[in-house]
């Protein structure tokens, strides 16, 4: 095994082009290796000291959140909490304080677990993944990035340098809720994110819903816009629950059966739409929604 600490993005990209795998907090890679899931890669390049990848701010095409931004930062950053609230909801639920302090957004995205907490929020917020290699850079919509459990369409020489999101219009809000059996060190049994924009009459003007842990990848629910627009939030939330249950293709495992997941993801979708609409209407619901109004907890 070889291990290099990259001092710059160029250093990191060169190492990755030569075959090294990136490591930031190591909360998936090292834990997986110690648990016997997968051996550590032969060549590692530590990217956690590349400060430019730990920034949140204006970038080409919107707000760039760097790949090295930690969950601890996401859950408290004023811009993220104000504009991309569902992402803060999700980050606040990840692991424990130690996981959140070393675990990064980039690691969560590229580990590509369908149960990841930040994925559904990023999807409803319209985020794109910014990939860079020695040869150039490209941006990929998340539904094209995630190709299956633990797999992405990124090339071996590409590094995720961040995600780019656009600010939502006035009277918009978002929320992420998950079903959990305990309050810490938990993985979503199922989860749902919603982003909602309200019209002047208080009905839904635009909406997106995405689901965690009910498909091989995080799933953007189809037809949400058509089904929800023009409805009041309560009735829109029920419609979202129906679509979520229909489109989910969950598995049974030791955490839940497929039928339980299919039912509960509808409940989570409904609650996410209601919370997002309340935030869109100006209500201050503290991050994370799971804790502040007690929804999501079993």
């Amino acid at each position: 095994m070889s291990f290099l600490i990259a001092e710059s993005l160029d250093d990191a990209l060169a190492a990755i082009a030569a075959g090294a795998r990136p490591i930031a907090g190591g909360t998936d890679l090292v834990v997986g290796a110690r648990h016997g899931k997968e051996a550590l890669p032969d060549e590692l390049v530590a990217i956690d000291r590349i400060d430019q990848l730990a920034e949140i701010g204006p970038g080409p095409g919107g707000i760039r959140i760097g790949a090295l931004v930690t969950h601890a930062t996401l859950m408290t950053d004023p811009l993220v909490v104000a504009e991309f609230t569902a992402l803060a909801d999700a980050a606040a639920l990840v692991g424990s304080p130690s996981t959140r302090h070393v675990g990064t957004l980039g690691g969560n995205v590229m580990n590509a677990s369908p149960a990841m907490d930040t994925g559904a929020p990023l999807m409803v917020l319209g985020a794109v993944a910014d990939l860079q290699s020695v040869g150039g850079s490209r941006s990929v919509p998340l539904d094209e990035l995630w190709t299956g459990p633990g797999t992405t369409s990124a090339q071996a020489d590409e590094l995720l340098i961040g995600v780019t999101l656009s600010s939502a219009p006035q009277r918009s809000g978002s929320a992420y809720v998950r079903l959990e059996y305990r309050r810490a060190m938990e993985i979503a049994v199922v989860g749902a994110a919603a982003a909602v924009t309200l019209g002047d009459d208080g009905t839904i003007a635009a909406a997106e819903v995405a689901l965690s842990a009910v498909a091989p990848t995080v799933l953007l629910v189809e037809g949400v816009g058509d089904a929800l627009v023009g409805r009041d939030p309560e009735s829109a939330a029920s419609a979202a629950a129906g679509l979520a249950g229909e489109q989910a293709s969950p598995i049974s495992d030791l955490r839940a059966s497929d039928s339980y997941r299919r039912h509960c993801v509808g409940v989570m979708a409904k609650r996410a739409v209601v919370a997002a609409a309340r935030r869109a209407a100006g209500e201050d619901i503290a991050v994370p929604v799971n804790r502040s109004i007690g929804i999501g907890a079993a």
Binding site: V30, R34, P97, V102
Partner: protein
């Protein structure tokens, strides 16, 4: 491959020469000889191995030692102030928050990180701050009380 580097633990630079795949916990315990930090689950779940890395809590069982070079590590041995116990240690003893003691170093490090960044934590703040640490003896109530009392004493 083996690599030689300095690891700064509790303000002391320890030269170590270890395989690059070694976790921070094993190097602190077996190479440096500070055995206050414990191995519990070895799976990033129980918090017995908690240390501070540049002041933030990290599960040392699941962090590569080579990745900690150039950073400042604090273990439970580093929280004593001279011969005086840290207020967290004293309150844990006073409240009966220590039974078998195996989780205690990790609890202290998580609580330390919490109190460093939150001057007057609410009971909920304390619960969240310790949410990555398991205890199988105490039932937690006395640990939570100890941390709240330590926070009150620190003001």
């Amino acid at each position: 491959m083996s690599e030689s580097f300095d690891l700064e633990v509790n303000g002391v630079a320890y030269p170590v020469s270890v395989d690059q795949s070694r976790n921070l916990l094993s190097v602190i315990r077996e190479e440096i000889g500070l055995t206050g930090t414990k191995e519990g689950c070895d799976d990033c779940e129980c918090g017995a191995c908690m240390v501070l890395l540049d002041g933030q809590p990290v599960n040392s069982c699941s962090y590569l030692a080579v990745q900690a070079q150039g950073r400042s590590i604090t273990t439970v041995e580093g929280v004593m102030q001279g011969d005086e116990m840290h207020v967290l240690q004293r309150k844990l003893l006073e409240e009966g928050g220590v039974q078998c003691g195996f989780c205690t170093p990790g609890m202290i490090m998580s609580a330390h990180a919490l109190l460093d960044r939150t001057a007057n934590p609410t009971p909920e703040d304390v619960r969240i701050g310790l949410s990555g640490n398991l205890c199988r003896c105490t039932g937690y109530a006395k640990i939570l009380a100890a941390v709240e009392h330590a926070a009150a004493e620190l003001g």
